[in-house]
């Protein structure tokens, strides 16, 4: 064991980043999760992130945990403690540790430390040796290495050991025989540190109380649960990273909550389609027939689905689609995060098409907007695309508890019953009788003589009859535009965070930029840079969005793609002077950081303020 001479003088209490470097497929995920959740149970805000390859076994994978008493849960690009368990990535893992930081490694095989940097603390634990000595089963010898290092961290960070042990008991409840060996492995690591490590360890986790009303959950789990609560009965899907776990969550909770007690039969249908296109076709068929239906996919799936999105838009069939975005274009970066499908979704399909988009920023919103998506899709009889991303969908977030009001009723939109039809003489499916652009639907089979029509993707008149007459077509297309305007006023309102004093500058952002933005605004305020901030939650944009841009001389649009897609959308839809909107784009596949945002904005303002140059400025970097 080697100790650097100068111990980091800033003792880090409940504020640090720890990174685990592992080999994919070695059982590290559950051990790392155990570590993160233990910190959550100690009442300290935590944000773990999986940084994984598109691979099942053998390649390097990392798990990064940011611990922040202050509640800053965006990614921070430093490493205070590295648990370096992967020889393949060892050198770069060593390199990534902050000076004065700590590196834990398996010292079973002697390591010549003179070859490595001296400005970090090296803590060698003979993990393999311990496991070989204590376990006879080869599988256990491998798996418990991960638990041993968790035990060691518990001792080093002076965590509450009983909380960790209780968590093991909770996690293996129902598989009791696994509890004893897991607790034993924790003890092995814990005791080894107690007996052998005398280095002062300046990072600690202390019990706190910051997590009242909070849960630790990933966005896909929450969204899948939202589909259960939102009354979805048909899910059609095609497996694709990072959306797969959304439908798996729906499946899991349906199997638990949607089984008819008498017959044991299912009050839901899940169909694994042959591709994403077929999955969306199934959603359209089910929605047309009066069921709430959804699909979940990622960018490549949306590309396939564009054909059907146009049909659903034009024929006016509700669709609920979750796009858990990953790095594009093409197959892109399947296991990295991005917000690069905005334009592809907003205007998906040929011809004049537009779709409603929702932007959840945390798992609680994944749940709430999933429920809302069904109401919105049925109210406006059109596709609703919820744009999540890998960062939100697949990582655990410290987030508000999910809530449900038992008085809640589903808004099924304008649907005519048999009695309604009996009292109507001149019903036309696409007749805009209310002036809001929304016609009245009928479900197949509703009435013996009335309400039947042939729904189609070909042009049609107000009575759903095929028509190639220009005025019928124009009337229909203008009505769709009217419907879109009606929708804009009914969609989730943006979230505003005002500057402490009046500011000429604003910042617009959305989705998973949220936690980094909170921290960035604080970092900027420390430098006396005050900005009003608006988090957009839906497209088409509400009036408030345009008013926000109107009220500021310069607006930064922060997003996680190369081309500033939200900026383009704002300019296009709001007829905004492009010079007013400055892009801040982060798109290397890792989640955006507060430091990146703060640096980009302050740099841009430094350039801006002396010259007051109105030309289109642009801050765009390949990551930080």
């Amino acid at each position: 064991m080697r100790v650097v001479q100068e111990v980091n003088s800033n003792s880090k209490l409940n504020e640090f980043v720890i990174k685990f470097a592992n080999v994919n497929g070695t059982g590290s995920a559950s051990a790392n999760h155990l570590f993160a959740k233990s910190i959550f149970r100690m009442g300290v805000p935590v944000s773990p992130r999986n940084i994984f390859p598109s691979n099942i076994q053998g390649l390097p994978t990392w798990y990064e945990v940011r611990v922040s008493e202050k509640g800053y849960l965006g990614r921070k690009e430093i490493v205070d403690i590295m648990v370096a368990m992967n020889p393949q990535s060892f050198q770069s893992d060593v390199d990534s540790v902050e000076p004065g930081g700590y590196l834990l490694y398996d010292s079973t095989m002697p390591l010549d430390l003179s070859k490595y940097r001296e400005d970090i603390h090296w803590i060698g634990i003979p993990i393999t040796e311990i496991c070989i000595r204590e376990f006879s089963n080869p599988k256990q010898r491998q798996l418990f290495k991960n638990i041993v290092y968790v035990g060691a961290l518990v001792a080093l960070l002076k965590m509450n050991f009983s909380i960790v042990k209780n968590l093991v008991k909770d996690q293996f409840s129902g598989k009791e025989k696994l509890i004893t060996p897991n607790v034993f492995a924790l003890e092995l690591g814990y005791q080894w540190v107690k007996e052998n490590v005398s280095v002062p360890f300046s990072i600690r986790v202390e019990q706190s109380n910051k997590l009242d009303n909070k849960i630790l959950v990933d966005g896909n789990t929450a969204a899948g649960l939202g589909c259960v609560y939102g009354g979805a009965t048909v899910a059609a899907w095609y497996p694709i990273t990072p959306s797969t776990s959304l439908v798996e969550s729906y499946d899991k909770y349906c199997e638990r909550l949607r089984i008819d007690p008498g017959s044991g039969k299912k009050k839901f249908a899940i169909v694994q389609a042959e591709d994403e296109l077929a999955a969306l076709g199934m959603v359209i068929g089910a929605s047309w027939n009066g069921a709430r239906a959804f699909t979940a996919t990622s960018g490549p799936g949306v590309s396939l689905m564009t054909e059907f999105l146009g049909l659903a838009y034009f024929a006016e069939v509700p669709v609920v689609l979750f796009n858990v975005q990953r790095g594009g274009p093409s197959t892109g970066m399947p296991t990295r995060t991005q917000q690069s499908d905005l334009l592809a979704c907003a205007y998906a399909s040929h011809g004049d098409t537009k779709h409603i988009l929702l932007f959840p920023a945390n798992p609680t919103e994944c749940f709430e907007l999933a429920v809302a998506a069904f109401d919105i899709a049925e109210r406006f009889q059109t596709p609703v695309i919820t744009l999540s991303d890998l960062e939100l969908g697949m990582n655990d977030w410290t987030t508000d508890k999910l809530e449900w009001d038992d008085e809640e009723q589903y808004d099924r939109g304008k649907v005519l019953s048999k009695d309604d039809l009996d009292s109507l003489d001149n019903w036309g499916r696409y007749n805009d009788v209310d002036g809001d652009g929304i016609g009245y639907r009928t479900y197949p089979g509703v009435h013996p003589d009335k309400g039947a029509f042939l729904i189609r993707g070909t042009s049609h008149d107000a009575f759903a009859r095929y028509s190639e007459r220009g005025d019928d077509y124009v009337e229909g297309m203008e009505r769709l535009q009217r419907k879109f305007a009606t929708a804009a006023a009914a969609l989730p309102v943006p979230v505003i965070r005002s500057a402490r004093q009046q500011s000429l500058y604003g910042v617009i952002y959305y989705g998973t930029t949220d936690p980094a933005m909170d921290e960035a605004l604080d970092l900027l305020a420390e430098k006396d840079i005050e900005l009003d901030a608006m988090r957009i939650r839906a497209f088409p944009f509400r009036e408030a969005v345009f008013a926000f841009m109107e009220h500021h001389t310069r607006v930064f649009v922060v997003e996680q793609n190369r081309d500033g897609q939200m900026r383009t959308l704002l300019i296009n839809e709001g007829d905004i002077n492009p010079a007013k909107l400055t892009s801040v784009c982060h798109f290397d596949g890792t989640p955006i950081t507060a430091q990146f945002i703060a640096d980009s904005i302050s740099l841009s303002l430094e350039e801006l303020i002396p010259s007051v140059q109105p030309s289109k400025s642009r801050v765009s970097k390949k990551g930080a």
Partner: protein, 351 residues
Amino acid sequence: MSYIAKSTFHHAKLPVNELGLTERDYEGPLSSLCAGCGHDSISAAIVQACHEISIEPHRIAKLSGIGCSSKTPNYYLQKSHGFNSVHGRMPSIATGANAANKDLVYIGMSGDGDSASIGLGQFCHAVRRKLNMVYIIANNGTYGLTKGQNSAMTDFGSKSKKGDENPFEAIDVANLALQLGATFVARSFSGDKSQFVPLLKAAIAHRGFAVIDCLSPCVTFNNHAGSTKSYDFVRDHNEALNRADFVPMKEEIVTQYAPGSSKEVCLHDGSVLHLHKLADEYDPSDAVEASYYLQKKQREGKVLTGLIYVNTDSPDLHEIINTVDKPLNQLGITDLCPGSKTLQNINESFC
């Protein structure tokens, strides 16, 4: 596509069915297909079959893709909801629709291009899933709407109107459906209503995926000498396996058949299909033999028609995925939403 309503005037003695409906109640607006198009005969057969088995029109959902074939749902069953979807994608729409409401009768209308070219993937997977529907392929071996190109079901060597021989092998959807687990496979000819109508009725009564490959000549682009989908060619080469009599559930069986000359197939709703054997050795309950026989006859240049295969014991999609008896689209918030108390427990699992 036409929406010109047909005259509702009809002969006072036009027969009514058990529901008191005439054939007119099962028709649609005037067809805009070419005069003499085989597809209009298919439409007429659907009208006749649905009328004769007294099915309520609004209990049927008719679906289609794109092409001449897929226009036809506009021309029959105007009291039924219909979905004229996009090219080759009707099977997925039908899958979702059926998942939502198992109680309707789904009649899909497709063509050889719609099913075997652009839509082959979706067709195959709908068959595999044992979707409970009738799937008719109006097979004219050509793309009519785009004026006469070959489809994936145009036979090898068949001549186009310009005189070119098709250099590519044809996909036999009936044989494909057999291999993929379809539980009712038939081939018929739009010009032979006496064969086609009973097969249609049986396909509707059947629970599971019922595919009928219906040869339906294109009078404008594929009815010339040298085409294997012309009226003349099909008539000359038609070899019927069997002749079917459909006896609905409620009717008494009155006809007597000589022993060994016919086979009875009991369908799911209690209806009976009497198959009069025309080919001695043929057994429509053996999928492997059926597949072999189809290929053999094809090699001989015959157009094999009739009921090729039927299996009434196989579960459909809903049985396989074990959905509740009530159609899913009729479940309300009390059936579907677990409520706040359950959500609190779920929250606890995330702490």
